[in-house]
């Protein structure tokens, strides 16, 4: 099979970009979308043209590095699948496929289809952790966790931080990502001591990064390769509301020892 690609090309952040159209070489329909791009790039390189830059790493749907908005939907036509797990058999011979980068102010473009998603890392650094000493692994079941909570926490922890939620949202809101990170810790007993502080810190960082607000359109949930539920956004709203009402904790003078 062959396809026509209409791809966003942009040299760097400060040079305006535009769409370029490429005919693919002959493809195997069992190639992944990224392998198809590899083949197109090889042909470009052989012609002495600059290959199309795109993000990828694990290519097995677990790292969250691949991106791309394919025909208007982040991660391509399927539900619950990342771009790297999208195969050319999902397209027809002769199709024109429009490929754009994730677009958001908080995800500035680096080159072609690659954007900078470090805003997510900064949100994680603001509170997406549990402050405990690491040490030997504790005994299994030494801290009881209700099964429902463990399941929900695992659902939230599936988030691979790819940013498709931001890319899909008409407001470029990061709330699905942030709520998944807040929830997967906040649902566990180990996450309780910092639960409200964490929600406040991560939401505040999210706002500072310039993401939009949620209008409950549900696009994020619809494109999420891990099918994270909007329920978690409601949970985050609850925790953040409590944090707002509580206010900042009393400042402690001196060391915390003892």
């Amino acid at each position: 099979m062959k396809v026509t690609l209409k791809v966003w090309r942009q040299k760097n952040r400060n040079t305006p970009g535009s769409f370029k159209t490429y005919e693919s070489p002959e493809l195997n329909e069992n190639m992944s979308f990224l392998e198809m791009l590899d083949v197109v790039n090889e042909a470009l390189a052989n012609r002495g043209e600059e290959p199309i830059a795109f993000d990828h790493d694990c290519r097995e749907g677990i790292c969250g590095t691949c991106s791309l908005v394919i025909d208007g939907k982040p991660h391509g036509p399927h539900k619950g699948i990342a771009t790297c797990q999208t195969y050319m058999r999902s397209f027809k011979d002769g199709d024109e496929i429009v490929v754009e980068p994730f677009r958001a102010k908080a995800f500035p473009l680096i080159k072609d289809l690659v954007c900078d998603r470090k805003a997510f890392d900064r949100i994680q650094h603001a509170g997406g952790f549990i402050t405990v000493r690491t040490g030997a692994a504790p005994d299994a079941n030494s801290i009881p966790v209700p099964k429902e909570n463990a399941d929900l926490a695992m659902d939230a922890a599936q988030c691979i931080g790819c940013g498709a939620c931001v890319a899909a949202c008409k407001n470029a809101s990061a709330m699905l990502f942030v709520s998944a990170k807040i929830s997967h810790l906040g649902l566990m007993p180990q996450g309780q001591p910092e639960r409200y502080k964490r929600a406040k810190a991560m939401v505040d960082q999210m706002d500072a990064e310039g993401f939009g607000a949620c209008t409950v359109t549900g696009s994020c949930e619809a494109v999420c390769p891990k099918e994270i539920s909007l329920d978690f956004i409601a949970r985050m709203n609850r925790d953040y509301g409590v944090a707002l009402l509580k206010g900042d904790p009393k400042a402690i003078k001196g060391g915390g020892a003892g």
Binding site: G72, V203, M206, G212, A213, C214, V216, S229, D231, L244
Partner: protein, 263 residues
């Protein structure tokens, strides 16, 4: 930072405001509808009710100011959030975005703006009684007698006002948009306030649908029934006749009743 600051300066804080004020306006809409549906009873029913409201200025003005504050906060947070959201994606996609999003959820601001325009018109029409906007005449002249007291004839005003076809159509358009606004907004309200999980979400969506349909029907049957002359037309015709009989000169009230031809 004090709590007002904390709420106003965070995206989630503004969502809480939007949800709370939207919820308050929704509760008002229910009460207002129950009041208005009395137009299907005898004229004295709604006239007496309106007179009762007017006779409690403290209550009336308290409610009016509260509603005004809700509308102002709702619009202020809607507009500032919309600016934030627009700024969050400076470069749009070439392809159609918003995958999986309902139309209602994407057009909350436009539907809200038309509703706001309608509210302004509605206040000028039936609260301030600006004669210029109703296409009929001076509604302040419409009086009736209840228990020996002369009071405004709200029943005649509603009937005369909504018999005008273009007014009726505008009312219906506003109701249709309110229906889409609330069909999404009432469910979103629970989400914004954090009251949602996998068990409650289907119920919440069901409630939002049912409540928005109920308001659509309730608010639409009034102008439709009046415009189709099902309600009140014999009353206003009699009123025109009485006024004519009492007065060979067109009385001031008759100008209101007969509309432009009388001038």
């Amino acid at each position: 930072m004090n709590i007002v600051d904390r709420i106003w300066n965070s995206s989630l804080g503004k969502k809480y405001l939007m949800a709370l004020t939207g919820g308050a306006l929704f509760v008002f809409l229910i009460g207002h509808l129950v009041g208005n549906l009395q137009v299907f009873g005898p004229p004295d029913l709604i006239n007496g009710y309106a007179h009762f409201l007017k006779s409690k200025p403290g209550l009336l003005w308290g409610a009016r100011l509260g509603l005004l504050a809700c509308v102002a906060l709702h619009i202020a947070s809607a507009v500032t959030l919309a600016q934030l959201n627009a700024a969050a994606r400076p470069q749009p996609y070439a392809t159609k975005g918003a995958y999986g999003a309902s139309k209602a959820s994407q057009y909350m601001l436009p539907t809200g703006v038309v509703i706001a325009a309608f509210v302004v018109y509605h206040l000028a029409h039936f609260t301030v009684l600006l004669p210029g906007v109703n296409g009929v005449g001076d509604f302040t002249k419409l009086k009736t007698v209840l228990h020996g007291e002369e009071i405004p004839d709200v029943y005649a005003m509603m009937v005369l006002g909504l018999q005008v076809p273009w007014v009726c159509v505008f009312y219906l358009i506003a109701q249709a948009l309110l229906f889409t606004h609330l069909g999404h907004g009432l469910a979103a309200m629970f989400q914004s306030l954090g009251f949602r999980d996998h068990v409650w979400w289907p119920r919440i969506q069901c409630f939002a649908k049912a409540a928005s349909i109920a308001l659509l029907i309730g608010y639409s049957i009034i102008p439709v029934a009046i415009c189709l002359r099902v309600v009140g037309s014999d009353y206003v015709e009699r009123k025109k006749y009485d006024l004519k009989a009492a007065n060979s000169q067109p009385a001031p009230a008759l100008v209101a009743v007969q509309g432009k031809e009388a001038k």
